[in-house]
């Protein structure tokens, strides 16, 4: 069965990871050129990084097993 080998989780994790990086990219744009982040910005970046790490974990589980 195709579904035995296909990793829907890995595909989703790639997109979710790219989306988390995009959110960080937007913070860089909004704070250019000095990138002096407010407390709120830092909290947002922390959350995006946590999302990104979670997706990387999923990719490791799914593709390097």
């Amino acid at each position: 069965m195709l579904s035995d080998t296909m990793s829907r989780r890995a595909v989703d994790a790639v997109f979710q990871g790219l989306f988390a990086l995009t959110d960080i990219r937007v913070v860089l744009r909004r704070t250019a050129p000095r990138h002096e982040l407010s407390d709120e910005d830092r909290q947002a970046v922390r959350e995006h990084l946590a999302d990104l790490k979670r997706e990387i974990g999923i990719l490791e589980e799914e593709l390097l097993r």
Partner: protein
């Protein structure tokens, strides 16, 4: 850093404040960036294209309802997405300008409006600007009269830019439309610098066609744009194909002739759609954008020998400035010559001003945060002081 061996990463927006006059309103929203990641492949929106096989009828993703929303957004009856405003001009000219027909535009019109008329076989006729670089209804009436006398009948069509690309000045669209209609001249509204950044109501303006630019003002990738019209003109402007192959007998369903069938089949329309909720919301913050921009205008006006060439007070964030009496004086003796100014701006993390420009140039503050506008304002004053230019 590079995308490929030959293509550098474009990171201008991440490392600098970009003042480029044409790029401000086209900066993508995060939603558009994400949509493009998923829909970058060529015909990516065609996975679920079903009969009658036309872009504006696709339900998944919901491109059909997006078209209805676009029409509502500019308060017109029908809308289509186009590969840039210029293709909207071309569709209107292609429908209504016959060979040798005069078509009115203005002394401040964009070159693509001229080319659209030329492609249709029409003859462009410019409404002159007044001393304040504005297009008035009186000037439009006079030009219609003049052209009618020369041609024997009124021009079929008039193109008017709400805000022009040269000065960012506002022109008398509503009044011009009224005058034009009194001569049975159809009116195309060029909203390249309005649709998507400030509220536009086509019916309140009394125009027959509204054209907007996705990549200039709707936070969308290029080339993208919209063309909207009324119930009255939709059957002509959006007419469907009628031809048949003489050998094969093939016909082509409901494809629209002026659109060459489907227009935006991938990342462009998905970028537009993804940005649209934010775009609909941001037009209501136009006054805030003008207030932020004023910080930069006031800074430039405080620099000795500098004058704002655009109308004042500013009603748009795109502004033309004359620094021949300030930064250009410095350039005369500076070792970097004219490049000293853009080099100094780059040192402050500011880009988008044409390299070497120190005489007359344009900038656009649209989309910058208040903090970024204050930063730019301070940078202009600092550069002036550092080079011995008085600042009041």
């Amino acid at each position: 850093m590079r995308c490929t061996r030959e293509i550098e990463v474009r990171d201008l927006e991440e490392i600098a404040i970009n003042l480029d006059p044409i790029q401000a309103g086209g900066r993508l929203t995060p939603e558009a960036m994400k949509a493009i990641i998923a829909y970058g492949d060529g015909y990516s929106v065609c996975d679920n294209c079903r009969k009658p096989f036309r872009l504006d009828q696709i339900k998944k993703p919901p491109i059909d309802s997006f078209h209805r929303d676009l029409a509502k957004f500019v308060n017109m009856d029908e809308a289509r997405v186009m590969p840039g405003a210029r293709r909207g001009f071309q569709a209107v000219a292609g429908t209504y300008a016959g060979k040798g027909d005069p078509v009115l535009l203005t002394a401040l019109s964009h070159y693509t409006e001229f080319l659209a008329i030329e492609a249709a076989g029409g003859v462009p006729k410019e409404i002159p600007k007044d001393g304040a670089n504005r297009i008035t209804a009186d000037a439009a009436a006079a030009k219609i009269e003049e052209v009618t006398r020369g041609h024997g009948s009124p021009p079929p069509l008039l193109f008017i830019d709400h805000f022009d690309y040269q000065f960012g000045n506002e022109h008398q669209v509503r009044e011009i439309a009224k005058v034009a209609h009194s001569y049975d001249v159809k009116v195309m509204y060029n909203g390249a610098y309005t649709v998507g950044i400030l509220p536009v109501d086509g019916k309140a303006l009394g125009v027959d066609f509204v054209v907007g630019s996705g990549h200039k003002s709707m936070a969308s990738p290029a080339p993208s744009g919209i063309l909207a019209t009324t119930k009255e003109y939709a059957p002509e402007l959006l007419r469907t194909t009628r031809v048949k192959g003489d050998v094969t007998g093939r016909s082509f369903g409901v494809k629209e002739v002026e659109l060459m069938g489907c227009t935006l089949m991938g990342a462009t329309i998905m970028g537009m759609m993804a940005s649209f909720p934010a775009v609909k919301e941001r037009v209501n913050r136009w006054q805030e954008e003008l207030t932020n921009g004023k910080v930069v205008i006031d800074s430039l006006a405080s620099i000795g020998g500098t004058s704002i060439l655009s109308e004042m007070p500013r009603r748009h964030t795109l502004t033309r400035v004359d620094t021949r009496g300030s930064f250009d004086r410095v350039a005369e003796t500076h070792k970097k010559r004219g490049y000293f100014f853009t080099s100094a701006l780059a040192d402050h993390g500011i880009g988008g001003v044409i390299p070497g420009a120190t005489r007359v140039w344009k900038f656009n503050t649209y989309g910058l945060t208040r903090a970024q506008c204050e930063y730019v304002a301070a940078a202009f004053r600092d550069i002036a002081r550092e080079n011995g230019i008085p600042v009041s």
